[in-house]
Structures are given as C-alpha cells and as structure tokens.
C-alpha cells in the first residue's frame, strides 16, 4: 500500500530547521502528550462504542450477540449505556479537550499558560473515564447516559462523570490564563480568530455544564452513595436538559472550529468573514442554554408557557447554523473556483475530493444539512409529539453528532495524527473508503430509524426482545425499517473500522511526513469586524443573564413546590448503597465539606496561576 502524505503542498515545502525531527511540533512536549493521550482515549471510545452500536443495530433484525459478549457486556441496556456514554460524552469531550487545547496554542502562537493544568486535564479526565467505566462494565450503572433519577447507579459512575466534566473546566481555565498572558504581550491586538473560537466554545460549555454539575453534586451523587434517599425527578430532569441541549453545541463547535478556521485552507479557500465567524460563536455562547426546555415539551411538571418561551428562543439558535450553512457554501465555492472550477456547479468536483480530510468534512457538512432539518422537526413544539422518544430521535442524532461531528473528528484525525506523530497517513485510499462507507451506512441507518420512529418504534428499546414488535398489532410492520437500520449499522461499523485501522497503521507507519496545522486566512479580516466581539467576559455575563431569565422561573417553580410533588424514593439499578444507620447526617456534612474543598482547591489553583 503506498502512503501519500496528507497535504502534498504543505509536505513539499522545505523545512526551515533541518534539525527538528519530523513529527516534532512547535509546542512543548510536556503539553503535547496530554493532547495525544486525550485523542487516544477518544479513539478507543469510538472503537468500543461503535462495536456496541453494531450489536444494537443488528438486534433489530433478531441477531442477538449478547450471548457472546457475556460476562463483559451482559445485556442490551448495559451496552446502550456504554454506547451513549463512550460516544456522546467521552469521545466528544476528549476530542474537544485535546483539539481545542492545540488550536488555542496555535492561535496564540504560544504554549498554554500552565503545563500543570494541561496534564491535569488528561489525568482528571482519564481517571473519570476509568471509574465510570468500572461501574458500567460491572453492570452497576445501567441507567443510560441521561441518568434520569430516581434510577440510581453505582456512585462511581456519577463521580467519574463529574471528573470528566471537571477536566473540561480545566481546559477552559487554562485557555483563559493563556489569553491573559497573551494579552499582556499583545496589547490592543485582536484575539486571533482560531484561539477566539476555541475559547468561546469552552465558555459556552462552562455556562452549560452548570446544570449537570448541580444535578450530579446535589442530587445524583448523594443519592447513589446513600446520603439522601429521595430526589425530585422533575427537577433533576430539568437540570439535565439545562445542560442537555447546549451539550450538542459542545459536540458541534469543535467541528465548527475546524470548518471555519482550518478547513478553508484545506480546500484552497479562505475564511469568508472574520467578524461573522466571531458573531456566530457569540450567538452560540448566548443562546445555547436558554432553550433546553424544548427537550421537555412532553414533561407533565413544566408549565406550558415556559415551554412556549423556550420554543421561541430555540428559533434564535437556528440562526448561527443558518449563517454557517451560507458561509461554508461561499467558502467552498471560492475554493472550487480557485482550483479552476467553472460554471454554475462546476466548482463542486474541483474541491479536493482526493484528500480524505477534505472529503470527510465535506460529507460531514452535507449530512449536517439533513441533521439540521430533522432538528428543526424535533424542536417544532406540537410536531414534537409525533417524534418524541421514538426511533426518529436516534435517526436524527446519528446524522448530527454521529456524523457531522464524528466525520469531522475523523477528517481532522487524518492530518492531526500525522501532525502529532510525524508519521505519514497510512493509506489515502482506505481513508477515503472509510468515510464514504460511514456516510452511506449512516444515511441508510438513519433512514431506517426515522421512518420506523414515525411509524411508532420507541427509542431505547430492545427490539429483538420486544414481543409487541411482531404480530401483535394488526397491520403494523416494522420489518423493513429495522432492516435498513441493521444494514446501515453494519456498513457504518465497517467504515468506522477502516478508519480506526488507518489510524493504527499510521502509528506504525515507517514513512514520515511533516504536516502543519492548516490555519486559514480571511477575506474580510479582523480590522473590519467589530472590536466589541472580543470582550468575551461581557458576552459570557450576558449569556448568564439570559440563562437566569430562561431558567430562573422554571427552577423557582420546580424547587419551591418540589414540582408540587413529594420527594421520590431512589430506585437502585444494580448497586445498593449501604450507609450505617445514624451515619447519614454526618456523611452529608463530610460530603459537603469535600465538595466545598474541591471548589476551594479549584479557586486556589485559579489564583495561583493567575498571579
């Protein structure tokens, strides 16, 4: 198999410094290994999670392989918990942590402010994954990644999840410290766009993660450890979706960083407008969180007028993605024409379809158009009643996070792994094949899921074991949609497998390559964009105010009268906490002290690094 350097033009450029070994990057090794480590953890999660996805997909045509995976994976729902957690939380978070740490450094052209924090991100995140992984693999956390109370898993599951989230806060902190240091050296300058987008992504997530942090620390962890034995399920669900909508932008924005700031360079185009790019990220910062109730249109305990309010704010969050669609098209057309494309659509074949990194991200963008449309369906208030909690929803998010984001991660890896290791990409052809197969697979899969969902297939249900799925209701036949899901799932798995093979073989490739981070230039530059966009602290404050407006009344109502309901006893799913009688009050105090100490430590860290 011949290996082709990722980007011929860049690779052909003479090296300025012949002494530097290929693969050495411009940044300190002590800050680079945590990035490599995060990426490795993400790719392992993709491998394990993807295989479990395959089991779920073929279960729909009555092929049940859980007999072979026992005792490690005992049943469908244990696998589904791992699938959701590994792919939607671990893979996406570790990629965001690693990739956006790197783009922050690249944007500022300087290392991160704190090596201690950079390495801390890796350790905290990894320990979190190991602890949660232990709980899930031992069948003590079959609560799915949404962890709705009063279901209660092993406390290590929630503790691990908290650590994973804490790792993202450490990235954000380090970014802000780096921004501060950079500002001292570059007074009056505009924040470089690449760093700007990376930092605002994490600021958005900082705001978003408040909900799940409060839920985990105040309800789920104490519940699972036996310190409290009742919870308010309507409140915990609301806190979950406080974070749960905005989390999709934490999945998506790292992909947007690549699409906006790097990808144009890869297709021979330029960033269309510096100001508009900043504006888009600010819109996400402002509107990601105050829309979360659109996931709770069908919740009995939430007043309808609040749902209506969140429906309207949801419309606002469609705007930045609509702008993105335009900007991407404009940028691609510029690139295609630059490469000699003529005529109305003649620029499309002229895009570098031979470059797997480009193809992966083009397919990601195309698929995301469908993802966006189906998202608008979900968000559409009354229409939601048709699709809520049906297989339509997995159909939708496998083409958003499962494709737009995942394919972009794959596309970025095609240059990032050679960049980090100095090894040439193993095989361009196989890399191309992998992303095409994945796309064809996921489109088939999602077609099956969405069709089935509209015809009433519930989501998160083991179809192979569901006796109602066959010959129960006259005239109901889900066979074909389930077959499409299964076939699509198999093709996706083959595509994903070839991608991982490409990554592994690249690690062992003897051929070296020198790859640079493709940073794009702008057509309409920073000088023509509004300076106020750079006051990110003020924008974050405004975002916080909007959240108070959108969630203040909701949380007030739910907390004041407990959603007008009494506390609900927890239901242990595989792990029963044991607290010696009479000890619970003491343990609650100890727990509160530990949490306070943890935040105190965080604060100290902030101060020490800030001085």
């Amino acid at each position: 198999m011949s290996s082709v350097p990722f980007n011929a033009e860049l690779a052909a450029r003479p090296r300025a410094d012949a002494e530097i070994l290929a693969g050495d990057t411009e940044f300190p090794a002590a800050q680079m290994w945590p990035i490599k480590g995060a990426l490795a953890l993400g790719l392992v999660s993709l491998a394990v999670g993807g295989l479990l996805g395959l089991l779920q997909a073929i279960d729909r045509v009555n092929i049940n392989l859980y007999g072979f995976t026992r005792p490690v994976i005992d049943n469908y729902y244990q696998g589904l918990t791992l699938h959701g957690v590994l792919l939607a939380l671990v893979m996406t978070f570790t990629f965001a942590n690693g990739f956006l740490s790197l783009t922050t450094m690249k944007g500022f052209q300087r290392p991160l402010a704190s090596t201690f924090l950079a390495q801390g991100v890796f350790w905290v995140g990894t320990i979190g994954v190991v602890l949660a992984g232990f709980a899930m693999l031992t069948n003590q956390a079959n609560v799915l990644y949404t962890m709705y109370a009063p279901m209660s898993a092993h406390f290590l599951f929630y503790f691990g999840a908290v650590l994973l989230v804490a790792s993202t806060w450490l990235v954000s902190l380090n970014q802000l410290l780096t921004l501060r240091a950079w500002r001292k050296e570059h007074q009056g300058e505009r924040i470089p766009l690449l760093a700007y987008a990376s930092i605002v992504t994490f600021l958005m997530w900082d705001l978003a993660s408040i909900g799940i942090a409060v839920e985990a620390l105040a309800q789920l962890l104490p519940m699972s450890a036996g310190l409290i034995n009742s919870v308010n399920p309507q409140l915990t669900r609301t806190l979950f979706w406080f974070t749960g909508h905005a989390i999709v932008y934490f999945w998506l924005l790292p992909a947007y960083v690549s699409w906006y700031c790097l990808f144009p360079r890869q297709v021979g185009g330029k960033i269309y407008s510096d100001g508009l790019t900043r504006f888009v990220f600010i819109l996400f910062l402002l509107f990601s969180v105050p829309t979360g109730l659109h996931h709770q249109y069908t919740d009995p305990g939430v007043p309808v007028w609040l749902k209506t309010a969140h429906f309207f704010s949801t419309l606002a969050i469609a705007v930045p993605s609509l702008i993105t669609a335009f900007t991407m098209m404009a940028m691609l057309e510029m690139g295609g024409r630059h490469n000699g494309g003529k005529g109305f659509l003649g620029w499309i074949p002229k895009l570098n379809w031979g470059d797997p990194s480009v193809t992966a991200q083009l397919l990601a963008m195309l698929t995301f158009i469908l993802g966006g449309i189906t998202g608008i369906v979900n968000a559409s208030y009354t229409v939601n009643e048709v699709v809520h909690n049906t297989a339509f929803i997995p159909g939708h998010f496998h083409i958003t996070v499962g494709t737009a984001v995942t394919l972009t991660i794959m596309g970025v890896c095609f240059w990032l792994v050679p960049y980090l290791t100095g090894k040439a990409l193993w095989s361009r052809q196989i890399a191309l094949l992998s992303v095409w197969l994945y796309t064809i697979g996921v489109l088939t899969f999602s077609r099956g899921q969405m069709w089935g969902g509209i015809d009433g297939i519930p989501r998160r249900s083991e179809m192979g074991a569901a006796r109602y799925a066959r010959d129960y209701i006259a005239g109901m036949d889900w066979t074909l949609s389930n077959q499409l899901t299964a076939i699509g799932g198999v093709v996706m798995t083959i595509g994903g497998g070839l991608f991982l093979l490409t990554m592994i073989m690249t690690l062992f490739n003897s051929q070296r390559a020198h790859v640079e981070i493709p940073v794009a230039e702008t057509v309409i530059g920073p000088r023509e964009s509004w300076k106020g966009l750079d006051s990110i602290g003020k924008w974050t404050g405004l975002g916080f105010l909007l959240i108070l407006l959108a969630y203040g009344p909701t949380l007030f109502i739910l907390v004041r009268n407990g959603g007008s309901a009494t506390p609900i006893p927890m239901v242990a799913m595989g792990y029963q906490p044991h607290v010696p009688p009479g000890m619970d009050n003491i343990l609650v105090i100890v727990y509160m002290l530990v949490v306070a100490a943890a935040f105190g430590g965080f604060w100290k860290l902030l101060q020490r690094n800030a001085s």
Partner: protein, 159 residues
Amino acid sequence: MKVHSLEKIYLALCAVLIVLGVIAIGASVFSHGVHLVGPSGSVNAAGIAKQAPFDQLGLKQTGDGQYEMTMLGQMWQWNPIKQQEPLTVPAGSTITFKATSSDVIHGLMVRGTNINAMIIPGQITELTYTFDKPGEYLIVCHEYCGAFHQEMYGKLVVS
C-alpha cells in the same frame, strides 16, 4: 461589520422561513387544538393506590363517547393493562389518559396518535385524544425504565 449583500438576502429568506414555520405551528395549536401537556396535579409517592384518581385504575366510561383511562407506569407493566386483553372502545370515542409512575420515569405513547408524554413519579400526566379511526393501537412505554422496559405494552382496539 461588513456583510455581503447575498448573505443579507439569504438571511432574510431564512427569517421568512422561520416565520412561516411559527405560523404553521400556531395553526396546529389554535385551529387544530394540539396542545402540550402541562401540570395536572401531583401525587404523593407513598400509597399512590389510595389517592384519586389512582385508587380506581382502568378504563371507565364517563359520558356519551367519553372515557377515562387511569393507569400506573411501573417496572414493568402498565397497570392494569394486560398484554393479551385489549381495551376496547367504539370509533369516535374520546379517551382521557391519566397516568403516573410508582417507581422510575416511564413514557406513554399510543402509536399513530399524539398521545406521547413522559410519566414522571410524583406528577400526573393527562392527555386526551379522540379515536376516530377504527383499528388496533399499540400502547407502549418509550422511556427506558430497566431491564424489561420492552415488556411495558398493551393494546387498544377501536371498533
């Protein structure tokens, strides 16, 4: 900030699209009477079976073509629905479902209708639908509630 004129046109068209969408959704609410569920009261976690309306579970006729179905989501059945004994009502009947959960969160869906809502312990979910079309309807739990989640189902026959 400089914005290309084509982009301004594009954004205007997007705005029109969003407004049209809102009008269509408004029509579904105001002229077709599709409503979201909202708070319909609460129950105490202890002794649900002693509290109205859950002291009398099952399908009851409350008027001419009017029915009320009170049910309890629990791991893992729709109490009191039995899988092999369908509920039956004549075509044109209006059924009001009143449901809550006695353990974890469940989800109530009747296939082919807009009966679709969460069943949350402590909260009462109330939904009404008029079954004009004769046929068999699947009643199913659509929120994961444990190992035998897929056992929570039943049938409604509209004759």
